[in-house]
């Protein structure tokens, strides 16, 4: 059963290998309720695999994952997933369903009446209500991902899993959507795990940054501590890039 003081998500010695090569290597970690955690790492670091063990899109070879103290292995996968918001880079809107049908899909699966939730959710992600009847192929990339977020939030989950959610968007839309989601995270009191390869995005959105390499966590710090060089060598290398870019921009602007 859920425990009031349990962490939102707890990984306990989670291991997953593909063809004998470990993607996640005996990893243990706790994520506090209400926190916004960014998982950063290069491709092949195991961050997406780790994220997917939470909603059982990936089954660990050994170790366990619990949500609010409850072992996810003891739950029916489809029931577990209905409680968790999941947003990923390719969005995966159902092309044969309207925006409204996409957003309300969770209600349909449980034969519940969505009432005016679709309109509320469109408001929440700053989309006009008359977009409800559009088909996904009539939307821009940013609009589609807003619908993707609205769909993930429809069932009022306490936990959001986001896998490179803004990766395919143009920089302006990406920044807007990142900030808008961060505001939603605060307002709805969500716990969020965000997987990204972009350290700048992680530093600007999260309040805790985990750096992964070869299936292990090699740095675990707040953005401020990382910038102060307290995350260790692996983290420093990743932080150095956006920091150098920021400094070059600053010099460009001030003629230094």
């Amino acid at each position: 059963m859920a425990m009031a003081d349990a962490p939102a998500v707890r990984f306990d010695a989670v291991t997953k290998a593909y063809d004998g090569r470990p993607a996640v290597d005996s990893l243990s970690l706790s994520i506090a309720r209400g926190s916004f955690v960014a998982l950063v790492g290069g491709s092949g670091s195991g961050k997406t695999t780790l994220l997917k063990t939470v909603n059982r899109l990936v089954q660990p070879d050994s170790g366990g994952v619990s949500i609010d103290g409850e072992d996810v292995a003891g739950l029916e996968p489809h029931l577990l997933r209905r409680r968790i918001g999941y947003v990923f880079q390719n969005i995966g809107l159902f092309p044969h369903m309207s925006v409204a049908e996409n957003i309300a899909i969770g209600f349909r699966l449980e034969r519940r009446d969505p009432g005016d939730r679709v309109a509320q959710l469109l408001d929440l992600v700053d989309l006009p209500r008359d977009m409800a009847d559009r088909m996904p192929d009539a939307l821009s990339g940013g609009q589609r991902q807003r619908v993707g977020v609205a769909r993930a939030l429809a069932a009022e989950p306490a936990l959001m899993l986001m896998d490179e959610p803004f990766g395919a968007l143009d920089p302006v839309t990406r920044d807007q959507l990142g900030n808008a989601y961060r505001a939603l995270h605060e307002r709805l009191g969500l716990s969020t795990i965000l997987v990204t390869h972009d350290m700048a995005e992680a530093l600007l959105l999260a309040d805790r940054v985990l750096v992964m390499a070869k299936g292990r966590i090699v740095a675990d710090a707040t953005p401020r501590d990382l910038l102060a060089g307290q995350g260790g060598t692996a983290a420093d290398a990743l932080v150095a890039v956006p920091r150098a870019q920021a400094e070059r921009l600053y010099r460009l602007e001030h003629g230094g």
Binding site: N55, L57, P77, H78, L79, L80, R81, R82, R83, Y86, F88, N90, I91, G92, L93, F94, P95, H96, I105, G106, R108, L109, R151
Partner: protein, 509 residues
């Protein structure tokens, strides 16, 4: 001809029912199989390979293969499974329709956007919900294309079911081809093509409705397809008057069509309801009679003697008929009602003028001059035991041998491309073209007396036998030739029905 065209509605209905049943059965098998195959590549490989293999079997052969399979099955389970007609046709056409549906459904299900599938899992769909809400609707256009292909194939291939005794539009085509009634052939082809186009258009309407999310289009398409099928089935669903229905068999040439009608007229007059199974192959028709799939037909003594009894000797005509009668009753319970009075034997025929000029009366005479002559044979004669028997008995050495379909064989003789042909002794063109049939003094070719045979369950049916017994010994060969010629001639052709009515007026008894 008009009588034949009057059969069109009934044949069309039978064609619709058979095609629809085969398509529905194929869907019921291949769609669930495709769902499993889409999740298990090993199943997909095996299922698609098997379906492709079936597709490489010619449809005609596949239909014919079900005959021995179902007969064997009948013997195995000890119950009577119908080996002719609807069941083998349904099974063969179903197997044929599997591949396009299966292949398209597997392709449709496995080529879906992985992101959409991940989203379906991510929002918490059960496997069933994923199939119903996401996979099926997204794969539908590709699946529908496969169903349309299968429907067109099935309707086309269903014309071949005539050869295993299932009535359909193929009856018109095969009968027309044999009697060279091109109107009949064209009617059958056009009706079958129109049926295929209509079915394809309605399935296309459903596909369009699914793609554009227009439910009305989907329902209209379904309603018209279902309505058409039900309309075709309706006459069968209504309680039929409880009359004893006799099934009359016929092989695939004019004489057989005429005799089947002649028998049918008599039985109808005696109060029986009559159905025809026409175009049956020589290889299946006797067994169909023995198994009770047909009630009565006419076969030829030499054919039964060599093909069914596997005898190589050539006794006198009367002795052979008596031996066949004993064998048929003993081995199969089949009743030999009697010989019809004429022979339809393989015979060598030459132009009358040549016969006079060269003094040809017998095959011995022919052997003397054969080195300078060309033999025109029908398509199977050169491979038949009769040809081997002839060559054993007479020193025949022709300059050349050519095979023709029967019509062209007569034309070849007429035009001088051939000098001798393998005719049938009851063929009306022998008299009409003033050909001379050469005698067989050594008795090399067995007798081919036409024999009227009845199925075991009719053997003790005195009313039935009384209706057809007057046909025994009633038709001299000249009369049969004339009846055949009425159907086979090029000008002023008659239908087999009309020829049968003419024949009826000439019967001795």
């Amino acid at each position: 001809m008009n009588e034949a065209l009057a059969r069109l509605p009934g044949l069309l209905a039978a064609h619709v029912l058979l095609s629809a049943a085969a398509l529905v059965l194929a869907l019921a098998v291949s769609l669930p199989l495709a769902v499993i195959a889409a999740r298990r590549p090993a199943v997909a490989r095996v299922a698609l390979a098997a379906a492709s293999l079936i597709q490489t079997i010619p449809a005609l052969a596949l239909l014919a293969l079900f005959y021995p399979i179902l007969l064997g099955l009948s013997a195995l389970v000890g119950a009577h499974i119908p080996a002719l007609g609807f069941l083998p046709s349904l099974l063969a056409l179903t197997l044929y329709a599997l591949l396009p549906i299966l292949r398209n459904a597997v392709t449709g299900l496995t080529s879906l956007d992985p992101a959409v599938i991940e989203a379906a899992d991510g929002v918490g769909m059960t496997p069933g919900q994923k199939l119903r809400l996401v996979e099926a609707p997204l794969a539908a256009p590709v699946v529908m294309a496969g169903i349309r292909t299968a429907a067109v194939w099935t309707i086309g291939a269903a014309t071949l079911s005539t050869t295993v005794g299932q009535p359909g539009l193929g009856d018109l085509i095969f009968a027309g081809l044999q009697t060279q009634d091109w109107t009949l052939v064209l009617t059958g082809c056009l009706a079958s093509a129109a049926l295929a186009l209509i079915a394809d258009a309605l399935l296309g309407l459903i596909a369009l409705g699914l793609a554009k999310r227009r439910r009305l289009a989907v329902w209209i398409g379904f309603a018209l397809l279902a309505g058409g099928t039900i309309a075709a089935a309706l006459p069968r669903l209504l309680p039929a008057p409880a009359r004893d229905t006799v099934v009359i068999g016929a092989k695939n040439f004019s004489e057989q069509y005429i005799l089947a009608r002649l028998i049918g007229e008599r039985l109808t007059a005696a109060g029986y309801a009559v159905e025809y199974r026409e175009g049956l192959g020589s290889a299946v028709i006797f067994r169909a009679l023995a198994a009770g799939d047909i009630d009565v037909y006419v076969d030829y003594s030499g054919t039964l003697w060599t093909n069914e009894m596997k005898r190589g000797d050539v006794p006198a005509r009367g002795a052979m008929i008596a031996a066949i009668g004993d064998w048929a009753r003993r081995e199969h319970g089949v009743e030999l009602v009697g010989p019809m009075g004429f022979e339809n034997a393989y015979a060598l025929a030459v132009r009358g003028a040549d016969a006079k000029r060269l003094g040809l009366r017998t095959i011995d005479d022919l052997a003397r001059v054969s080195a300078g002559m060309t033999l025109g044979a029908d398509l199977e004669f050169l491979d038949r035991p009769e040809w081997a028997m002839l060559r054993r008995a007479y020193p025949l050495h022709f300059a050349a041998q050519r095979a023709y379909s029967p019509t062209f064989m007569f034309r070849a003789l007429e035009s001088g491309q051939a000098d001798v042909i393998s005719a049938f002794s009851s063929d009306g063109r022998i008299a009409a073209m003033q050909l001379t049939v050469l005698a067989d003094p050594k008795g090399a070719i067995p007798g081919y007396d036409a024999l009227l045979l009845a199925a075991p369950r009719r053997a003790g049916d005195e009313r039935f036998l009384a209706a057809i017994r007057p046909l025994a010994n009633a038709i001299p060969v000249e009369t049969m030739r004339e009846a055949n010629y009425r159907v086979d001639r090029d000008a002023d052709k008659q239908s087999p029905e009309a020829a049968a009515r003419w024949l009826q007026t000439r019967i001795r008894h």
